[in-house]
């Protein structure tokens, strides 16, 4: 007589997932002074804003899970968001077998295990995608916040460079700055 039985298989797994996103762009630094002088001014300005100089000459600042890296020589900026999480997932499946026909219990169990593995992979893929979205959202949000700061850095470097250039040209008689309009007037006696 044929007897049905049901087996339940559970699988769980824990994985360490990582996701990241990064954009690179170029700062618009005017060539008012020689490139090495402009790089020095940029470095100074970045230091004031919490950037630390690395062995390779780049300036790096970590804002939580985000890293802003500026190469003062080339003006290249990269903003990187990285996020990681240890995720545990569990999957469960039931299968019905018969003692006289069909696959044996062992092969049925193996088949269900394979299906569970696929289920787990799918769940981890979804988690990976969620983590990726999180990293990208963080990056986008940070870019919005970073933009005014980077603009200020560029403006400050330009101002400093103009002042130095004026000093090289002659005696600076008067400097007037209007923070609102951003205009800078330098009177030089040559």
């Amino acid at each position: 007589m044929s007897r049905a039985y049901r087996i339940t298989v559970k699988e769980s797994d824990t994985r360490h997932l990582k996701a990241g996103d990064e954009i690179c762009t170029q700062l618009e630094i005017l060539e008012i002074l020689p490139p090495e002088d402009m790089a020095a001014l940029l470095k100074e300005e970045l230091k004031k804003r919490g950037f630390e100089e690395q062995d390779d000459g780049t300036m790096v600042r970590k804002d939580g899970e985000l890293t802003v890296k500026v190469d003062p020589c080339s003006g290249e900026v990269s903003v990187k968001a990285e996020t990681e999480e240890t995720v545990a997932q569990e999957a469960k499946r039931d299968a019905t077998g018969f003692n006289d026909v069909g696959p044996s219990e062992k092969s049925l169990r193996d088949r269900v295990k394979d299906q569970l593995k696929a289920d787990l992979d799918k769940k981890f893929e979804q988690e990976q995608s969620r983590l990726q979205n999180k990293a990208t959202e963080q990056l986008e949000k940070h870019l919005t916040e970073l933009q005014p700061e980077i603009s200020e850095v560029v403006n400050q470097v330009t101002r400093d460079a103009l002042k130095q250039k004026a000093q090289q040209m002659g005696t600076v008689k008067e400097i007037s700055e209007d923070a609102e309009s951003g205009s800078l007037t330098i009177k030089v006696e040559v």
């Binding site: 996103d21 700062l27 933009q147 205009s183 330098i186």
Partner: protein
């Protein structure tokens, strides 16, 4: 382009020549590839197989030669050879139509065996589904062969199966003309390896490029306008990357060969696009959905879409170099010609507009409040305010 150097031909028989069914198909395929036969019928013939004979009749060979010679010359003349234009020859501007500028021996088209072998193969086999190997070593091809293979590829590339089959073959994959015209069709994935463009700027290949300048301009303008209707992010990225790599390599080779006149189509394409201020939406407005999940990939796709405007940087560099060439310097005439080309399309304005459009895509470059306006008092080259100078 060719009128002399043709061997004496036997008198034509009365009435149409007799050819076999295979030869008839071959001739129709040839006429389709050079643009003298309806594309839908030509495409059917290329996709069909016919058993190949031992050899071709003398009459058929004669017709093939005749068609190749006349159709290619007619194509070149129509596309731009007829124009009374000015191109560099030995680094000096030379005016006139192509047959006035170039001696006959330099513009006589010579087709070699690979062309006939390709036609036999394309007639006998289903090009999109055949195991019969055919290819031609690029080094063995004459400039006229390259021109023919370029025409053949252009005629068939609208069919995705034929495109996939042909672009794997070296005769097309390494054909610089194909890369200079439709680089997006030459790649399958993200990996882009343009061919060596240097030979394009020498001898007869350079003459062909001169003839094709208006044609290339027209093609690139059309391709740029089509981008606005492209919805697939991946395809846009692949095409843009291929275009960027191909144009960069092309312009580098042009500069090294001192044939900046042969890059006019890049300048004129940009000039036609930037008749007014543009935004990147012109190129990327058709992209569907939110695109790849990573911001880096989305940005890369958008940057790739603007491959053509991004070339203006190089052209502007050429203009700056041309401005610094003195009357007694080498290449003064050539630099004067480039400056004339640049000014004819208001190059400075086009370059500024292209730069502004490209920069709109760049993150961290939004509207800047309080940008210090560099006072003319300290601008290099100007007299500072209050100075005695």
């Amino acid at each position: 382009m060719t009128r002399a150097a043709v061997p004496p031909r036997p008198p034509d028989p009365d009435g149409p020549r007799q050819v076999s069914k295979f030869e008839f198909n071959l001739l129709r395929i040839l006429r389709f590839m050079v643009g003298h036969f309806p594309a839908d019928q030509g495409m059917q013939l290329v996709r069909a197989a016919v058993s190949r004979p031992e050899c071709l009749s003398a009459g058929a060979v004669d017709l093939i030669k005749d068609t190749l010679g006349k159709a290619c010359v007619l194509f070149l003349v129509r596309q731009g050879a007829w124009r009374n234009d000015k191109y560099l020859r030995d680094n000096n501007p030379t005016p006139g139509r192509v047959w006035e500028r170039i001696p006959l021996e330099e513009r006589s088209l010579l087709f070699s065996r690979p062309v006939l072998e390709f036609l036999l193969w394309a007639t006998a086999e289903k090009v999109n589904d055949t195991k019969a190997a055919w290819d031609a070593a690029p080094k063995a091809l004459t400039p006229a062969d390259e021109l023919f293979f370029w025409l053949a590829f252009d005629a068939t590339r609208t069919d995705p199966d034929l495109l996939a089959a042909l672009r794997k073959k070296d005769a097309f994959r390494l054909n610089p003309l194909c890369w200079a015209t439709f680089p997006g069709d030459m790649v399958e994935g993200d990996e882009v390896t343009p061919p060596n463009f240097a030979p394009m700027f020498e001898g007869q290949r350079a003459v062909l490029l001169e003839c094709l300048q208006p044609h290339l301009t027209h093609r690139w303008i059309r391709s740029e306008r089509m981008k606005g209707q492209m919805g697939d992010w991946k395809k846009m990225r692949q095409q843009g990357r291929a275009e960027f790599a191909a144009l960069q390599a092309f312009l580098k080779a042009a500069a090294e060969a001192k044939r900046t006149d042969l890059a006019r189509f890049v300048l004129r394409t940009n000039a036609a696009l930037f008749t007014s201020e543009m935004t990147p939406v012109f190129w990327t407005g058709g992209l569907q959905g939110s695109g790849p999940p990573r911001l880096a990939d989305r940005l890369d796709t958008q940057r790739s879409a603007l491959a053509v405007p991004r070339q203006m940087d190089i052209l502007e560099g050429w203009q700056n170099s041309a401005l610094n060439v003195g009357y007694f310097d080498d290449g003064y005439q050539a630099s004067q010609m480039w400056k004339a080309d640049w000014e004819a399309v208001s190059g400075n304005r086009v370059a500024a507009r292209a730069r502004a459009t490209v920069e709109m895509l760049e993150p961290l470059r939004g509207p800047i409040g309080g940008t210090p306006a560099a006072n003319p008092a300290v601008a290099p080259g100007d007299n500072p305010e209050g100075s005695s100078g």
